[in-house]
Symmetry: C2
Subunit: 188 residues, 2 copies
DNA sequence: GAAATTCTGGAACGATCAGTCAATATCCCT
DNA sequence: AGGGATATTGACTGATCGTTCCAGAATTTC
């Protein structure tokens, strides 16, 4: 029986995620990562394999947690449109922080299959939940009847990085709120 | 009087831009850049100063050219709404290619003042032209009267990276078209 | 020819890179 | 206590990084 690990793997992964969000993959060194994670260099490699595998693990965890939070926001409120509004409010509230998912698309596009599959899974989950919520909102009269729910879901999905990039480019809270309102206006 | 430069500075800058668009700043080495630009190492430094200054010059040129093309698209067509549609069609058509402006925001946010000022100038020019066009479209009855033209312009500005990131994440032409249509629907 | 700058690519510099190495430590089992 | 398997650490490794230096040759005007 071997020595158990001293550090909490998920806590270390979350620390690495913070570095990757700020600096991207190419801009984050192993020294940056081990420092933030509070572990030795060999521990990083023993546990995660290499820097690219660490990035993938960070992206997978980030995507899962972010999707979970999005879905929770979507499920809030008495009417489906409330869920959509609360989702966009959450996006606005956190828009000033760098987003690992957006960063990964910018840095890699779809050139890395092992990342693309993580990204696609997150998108599918969100799109499915958004489509369901849009359909409910149509039934409740808050979203126009004739709209394709898949397209509306894709539109809402695309609005999220739009808002995030606007914030990262300097847009203030009032402007982000206007973006969210116009986004929902498109569905009315 | 000294020997004149042999290479075309703008052509070299465009070649560097292509590298930066694909690989970002941190991911592009001086060797990658000199190879693509077709010039010697010392010529790069003599002409552009250093890698960061080259990136700034590339971003400034890219932003100016892209803004110019956006403004030309906006000016096309008999009605103002046509200009908006043509702008979004142009964005869709080129959305699969990495965008240096979006990449710069992702990689640096506003942490580099010398880049932030380039980005802000481009955004101001586009926002001004968009606002003017939205106001015209209101007068022509194609955009709702009650909308704030500044907010509508910001919304259209945010839709551009939204579309670009959707494309870079794998969205097809039909989905991008739906995004553009819903974007304009928000203004009706 | 002289002066000022340009061109090249290799060499050099100090720094940093991702990953490996070597020694020591920790756990359970016999 | 010793063995086996794994964990821990920071130093080490060979490669690459951005930038400067170098030397020789080239280009322009005076």
């Amino acid at each position: 029986m071997a020595r158990p690990k001293e550090f909490d793997k998920d806590a270390a992964l979350d620390a690495a995620t913070r570095v990757f969000r700020e600096q991207g993959f190419a801009g984050s060194s192993a020294a940056d990562l081990t420092r933030a994670m509070g572990i030795g260099r060999q521990s990083l490699y023993d546990t995660f394999g290499d820097k690219a595998a660490l990035y993938r693990a960070a992206l997978a965890r980030y995507t899962a947690l972010e999707t979970e939070a999005h879905l929770a926001a979507l499920s809030t409120g008495p009417r489906a449109i409330d869920g959509l509004e609360i989702l966009l409010a959450r996006v606005r509230a956190k828009a000033g922080e760098p987003c690992l998912a957006v960063g990964a698309v910018c840095e890699f596009g779809r050139s890395r299959p092992e990342l693309a599959e993580v990204q696609a899974a997150g998108e599918r989950a969100l799109a499915g939940a958004l489509a369901a919520r849009v359909r409910e909102a149509q039934d409740e009269g808050d979203v126009a009847e004739g709209l394709d729910v898949g397209e509306a879901a894709a539109f809402l999905t695309a609005a999220i990085p739009g808002i995030r990039i606007a914030a990262r480019g300097g847009a203030g809270a009032a402007q982000l709120q206007a973006l969210a309102e116009l986004t929902l206006r498109a569905l009315r």
